[in-house]
Amino acid sequence: MNAEMSAITVNRLCKNFGRKQVLKGLDFSVPLNTIAGFLGPNGAGKTTTMRMLLGLIPGIDGEITMLGQTMPGGRTIALEEIGAVVENPAFIESMSAYENLYWFGSLYKPLTDQRIFEVIEMVGLKEAARQRFGTFSTGMKQRLGVAFGILHRPKLLILDEPTSGMDPAGRVHMREILTRIHDEEKTSIFLSSHLLDEVQRLCNYVVIIDNGRCVKQGYVSELLSGHSEKWEIRVVDEDAAKTRELLAAMHEAVIDINQGPRGLVISLQTGKSAEVNSGLIKAGVRVVALIPLEASLEETFIKLTGNGVSVGGGA
C-alpha cells in the first residue's frame, strides 16, 4: 500500500437497468483524508454508483478500487475498513437502538459496550439508546445510521444523502457530527447529496456527475478559484442610483450588476470585494451592508450539469 493510496477509485464504470444506461463509463477518484461530496442531479446515478461500490449490485462492468482493494474480489477485506449506509437506514423496528448497533455492528468485529455507548453519545442519541427503533423520528434514524457506520472505527465512511428528510436544525447537527467524526476518528467521508450549500459547507472535495459521467472533480477551493463571486450591496435609498453608476464604471472588478430584492446583486472577480467597497465609500456612498452570496458551487454545478431544472430535488 502506497502513501498516496486513494480512498475510492472508479474507472470506466458502466451500468444498465434494462435498456436504460445509467452509468456511461464513470471515472473518478477520491483521496484519503477528505470529506468528499458526491453531487449530481436526481437520476444521475449517485445511488447506483454507491450500491456498486458496496457490492449491493453484483456484476461490475468497469474497475472499482477501494482502500487498495479491487472489487468484487476484495470486497470483504475492504468492507472491514468501511462503514456505509445506503439510502435510509433500515434497522429492526422491534429492537432498541443499542440492540441494533450491537447485532449489526458485531458483524464487522467484536464490539465493547463502551464503544457502542460512545458512538451513541457522539450522534446525540444518549436518551434514546434503549428506545425501540420503530419509534424514532427521521432525523434520529439517520443519526443511528451514521452511528452504525462508525462503530468499528472505519477508515472510510460512505453515506447516501445523510440529511434527506431532515429539518434545518437536524442538518446542522448532522454536519457537526460528520465534522467531528472526520476530526476525531480520522475517518474519510464520502457522501452523496444534492443539497449544494450543505456540500459547500461540509466538504473539501467534490465529485460532480451528470447523466452517468463525471463532469468535474477536485478540491472545493480549487474548483471555486478563478470563478466570480457574488455579493449583495445594500446602501441608503438615496444613494442607490449613484451606486449603480459607480459600479458600472468599475469594469475591471465588476462583471455584472443585477437588482436584488433588497439591494444590488453584483458579480465580482475573485478577491476584488475590498477594492469595490473602498471605492464606493471614497465616493461618499453610505454602504449599509456588503453580503457575500455563497452560491458559487451552485453556479458551477448548474453550469456543468447543463440545466437548473433537475437540481431542485430535495433542496
Binding site: R51, L54, G55, L56, I57, P58, G59, R75, T76, I77, L79, E80, A84, V85, V86, E87, N88, P89, A90, F91, I92, S94, M95, W103, F104, S106, L107, Y108, P110, F148
Partner: protein, 302 residues
C-alpha cells in the same frame, strides 16, 4: 468463523423476536399440549366409571400413539409454517431493507443464506424437541399417577399390576431419537431450500408462501396421480419416481417410517428409508446451490 456464528445467532434472534414464532411453536406442539390434557381426562374418566386403576401400560399406549401423531402432524403442518418463516427471513427482509443493512457488513452472500437456513433449522429443532419433551413429561406424570393411586400406599403391595415392566419408561431410545432428528433435519432442509428459491423472487412473505405451497402441492398431486399410471407404461417411470421430490417428503414423514424407527424395526440404512433421505439430501443440496447462485446475482435495490 466467529462472524458466521454470530450471524446464525442474529438470525435466530430475529426469528424468535417475531410474534409469528410463538404461534408457530404453539401450533406445531398442539398434539403434546392436548395430550397432557387428554391423559388426565382419560385417567379420571376410567376411574370414575369404576374400572378401577388404569394400568400404566394403557396410558403408555396413549402417549405413544400421541407421539407418533405429533411427528406426523409436525411433518404435515411444518411446511406451511416453514414457508412463512422462510418468507419472513428472505422476502420481508429484502423489502424492508434489513438485507441491505446485512450486506453492507463484510459478510458474504452464501454466508447469509447458510446462516438463515441454520437458524431456521435450530428454531425447528426447538419446536420439535419442545413437543417431544412435553410428551415425555406426560409419560413420567402418567407413571407417577398410576404408582401413587390405589387404596393402599403404593409401596405396601407388590405393584406388578400397576407397572408393566415390559413397557419402557422413555418414549424413544437415544438412537431412534437421533435417527428421527436426522430425518426431520434432511426433510426440512429440502423444504427450506425449496422455499428459499421462491422467496428470492417475491418481496411479500404471504405471496411467496402461497405460491411456493401451491407449487409444492401441485407437484405432489401430480406425483400421486401420475406415478401409478406411468409405471404401468414403463418400469423406468417407477425408478424415476423414486427420486421424485415429493415422493421422498412423503416417505420420510410417513407414519410407517416413523413407527419403523420408533420400534427399532429399521434404521437410517434400511433400504427404503436410506434412499428416501439420501435423495432428499440431494434435492436439498440442489436447492441450496440454486438459491446461492440466484442470491449472489441479485441486485439489492431496497
Amino acid at each position: 468463523m466467529r462472524r458466521m456464528l454470530f450471524l446464525i445467532l442474529f438470525e435466530l434472534k430475529k426469528i424468535l423476536n417475531r410474534k409469528k414464532a410463538l404461534l408457530f411453536l404453539l401450533a406445531l406442539n398442539i398434539v403434546p399440549l392436548v395430550a397432557s390434557l387428554a391423559l388426565i381426562v382419560a385417567y379420571v374418566k376410567f376411574k370414575g366409571f369404576g374400572f378401577g386403576e388404569v394400568q400404566f401400560s394403557v396410558l403408555h399406549e396413549i402417549v405413544k400413539g400421541l407421539f407418533t401423531a405429533h411427528f406426523k402432524l409436525f411433518a404435515f403442518i411444518a411446511p406451511f409454517f416453514l414457508a412463512l418463516v422462510v418468507g419472513d427471513s428472505f422476502s420481508t427482509e429484502l423489502s424492508r431493507g434489513y438485507m441491505k443493512m446485512l450486506l453492507l457488513t463484510p459478510v458474504r452472500r452464501w454466508q447469509v443464506i447458510t446462516a438463515k437456513t441454520l437458524a431456521i433449522m435450530l428454531f425447528l429443532l426447538l419446536a420439535v424437541c419442545l413437543g417431544g419433551f412435553f410428551l415425555q413429561a406426560d409419560l413420567l406424570v402418567a407413571r407417577s399417577l398410576t404408582q401413587a393411586s390405589g387404596v393402599l400406599p403404593a409401596n405396601a403391595l407388590p405393584d406388578a399390576l400397576n407397572i408393566d415392566i415390559s413397557k419402557p419408561l422413555y418414549l424413544v431410545s437415544t438412537s431412534s431419537a437421533f435417527q428421527l432428528l436426522v430425518l426431520t433435519f434432511v426433510g426440512n432442509l429440502m423444504l427450506i431450500g425449496f422455499f428459499i428459491v421462491f422467496a428470492l423472487f417475491f418481496e411479500s412473505a404471504i405471496l411467496m408462501s402461497f405460491t411456493s405451497l401451491s407449487a409444492l402441492m401441485g407437484v405432489h398431486t401430480f406425483y400421486l396421480i401420475a406415478s401409478s399410471l406411468l409405471n404401468k407404461i414403463d418400469v423406468w417411470y417407477e425408478s424415476a419416481a423414486k427420486w421424485c421430490f415429493t415422493r421422498h417428503l412423503d416417505e420420510l414423514f410417513s407414519v410407517n417410517t416413523i413407527e419403523t424407527i420408533l420400534e427399532n424395526r429399521g434404521n437410517l440404512l434400511t433400504d427404503n428409508i436410506f434412499t428416501a433421505w439420501q435423495s432428499s439430501l440431494g434435492w436439498a443440496v440442489l436447492f441450496y446451490a440454486i438459491a446461492v447462485l440466484l442470491f449472489s446475482r441479485r441486485q439489492i435495490l431496497h
